[in-house]
Amino acid sequence: MTLSAEVEVRFDGFHEEVALDVSDGEVVAVLGPNGAGKTTLLRALAGVRPLTGGRIVLDDLVLDDPARGILVPPEQRSCGLVFQEHLLFPHLDALANVAFGPRRRGASKSEAAAVSREWLERLDVAEVAHQRPRSLSGGQSQRVALARALATGPRLLLLDEPMAALDVTQRSTVRRLLRDHVAESGASCVLVTHDPLDAAALSDTIVIVDAGRAIQRGTPADVARRPASPWVARLMGVNHLRGRVRGPRFDLGAGLAFPCTGVPEGERWAVLAARAVSVTSDGADEGLADGPADGPVVGWSTRVVSVQPTGDRVLLGLEYPPGLSADVPPDRPDGGRWTEGMAVWASIDPSDLDLYAPRSV
């Protein structure tokens, strides 16, 4: 185990207590809403926010242990920091930004320049070596920032929303870069994000943090399949249904129920991909929904409460069940456009429902 941290921080009425273990080359994503304490966690690991309790151990070296009065200052830790805003030193060119770390760690000017040039080349931004940060594109400066963080060979890489300011194509490139270089460097990596896609694409383990507590951890797939709360499901971008199994039926209340077999009675939750929800204009296709086309599809009538385009698809928020989203093509089957407030007929195939027992918390 490379990093073993029990972070406890209290300040201004905020209280955070999160444990985190990260092994060599592993990426742990910390996912949660703004203000959940994700960044505080990173700051504690970097050493700029001292712990008030717990302890941080990196490679058998105690970095922070208030009970024993140990606090290794940030400049003596082996941490690389990358932020959403890149935070390249504005008065230094790209090469000098990358060389900053090696220079501070005792490399000579020429050594540092050589190492930095190498890193810029590896991250494919050698051509901007002598440009100031101001003239770099978002993708370029994020690469330089990453090169700067990696150039000191950190044992622990701390990434704070590194992709949030990038456009879609840059995002996937930087994701790939991160995945490759983190694995290659063997560093342990803590990635703070609020984007489940980043977490799923980059991390081996996800820790969901809310209000200063870790409320769930597991692989991205596990967390998406078995969210510990409706809130986690929403964070992971999956639909979450809560109901009760009575006999062969999963009952959501208000007259909506789906057939199910072999599930014990009692309260059950289910996740459902947004793509698995079909929506048609109300009335127009009722016959189809009731029809025998693809087995026992269950449909109900509801309303569209929100319409959110997502590139080549549209995400519809439905009135019932509350919070249910449907990922549909941008055009309705009858050719029209989706509008907020329109009455629709929603349907799902009950076999797409993945039922599980809520965890007793």
Binding site: G47, V48, R148
Partner: protein, 246 residues
């Protein structure tokens, strides 16, 4: 506007251009000019040495009584300079709180000495540096410094290599303002250090005194101070007028 410009025009109208050169090179004027430059530069230097760490502490750290410290540092901005002079006299005068032991044990005397002028000017001018630099520090993202630390830079290296270059223009502006204020200092200086030609008689004091005797010299010296003030303003133009334009 008239209220602001008419006095300036009045001053310029009374400048005796033909004798300006000789008025400014009279021994009284030269002494005062030399003393003013030495003292105001020393006061500026002292303000940087003392004020920079103080500004950093105010902007970057939390400690008990911080708001009190901040209030004390900006107090000289609103305090009548003559009150500052009286306060300095009571603290550093021959019979003052600190002045007596300093004189008895070390023979150091601030009153009626050039060192007293520097002290008075620093007291009045340093807040300009602290306020300017603290504001600049507040506006700089601390995470730049955290990144620098994570890359192995200690506090001093971080300040020298990252923070200072990032607040450079504000630092320069603060220094210029401090120097201009120190150069123009009158009330605290005359109260605390007195008015001894060649030792504590700076330009503003010389102006005041000349006004009672040779008005032409007073006007000439005033003109000189006006020119210096304008020069400071023009040097800072990029910073302020530029900010307005943007």
């Amino acid at each position: 506007m008239g209220l602001l410009t008419v006095p300036l025009i009045g001053l310029l109208a009374r400048v005796s251009w033909s004798t300006l050169g000789s008025d400014l090179t009279s021994s009284v004027a030269l002494d005062a000019l030399r003393l003013s430059l030495v003292c105001s530069l020393a006061a500026t230097g002292l303000s940087v040495v003392l004020g920079l760490p103080l500004a950093w502490l105010l902007a970057r750290t939390e400690f008990r009584g911080k708001s009190l410290v901040r209030a004390i540092t900006v107090l000289p901005l609103v305090l009548p300079p003559v009150v500052g002079g009286v306060a300095l006299l009571l603290a550093f005068g021959r019979d003052g709180l600190l002045g007596r032991p300093l004189f008895d044990w070390l023979g150091i005397q601030f009153t009626f000495s050039t060192a007293g002028v520097v002290l008075a000017e620093t007291f009045v001018a340093m807040p300009f540096l602290i306020v300017t630099v603290e504001a600049a520090l507040q506006m700089t993202d601390v995470r730049f410094e955290e990144v620098a630390a994570s890359l192995g830079a200690g506090r001093w290296a971080t300040f020298r290599l990252v923070t200072a270059p990032m607040i450079w223009s504000s630092l320069i502006a603060g220094v210029a303002l401090t120097w201009a204020r120190a150069l123009g200092e009158f009330g605290a200086t005359i109260t605390f250090a007195g008015d001894i030609e060649g030792r504590t008689q700076t330009l503003p004091l010389a102006v005041y005194l000349a006004l009672e005797g040779d008005e032409r010299v007073a006007v000439a010296l005033s003109f000189l101070l006006l020119v210096i003030s304008l020069a400071v303003l023009i040097a800072l133009r990029g910073r302020w007028l530029g900010a307005v334009r943007r």
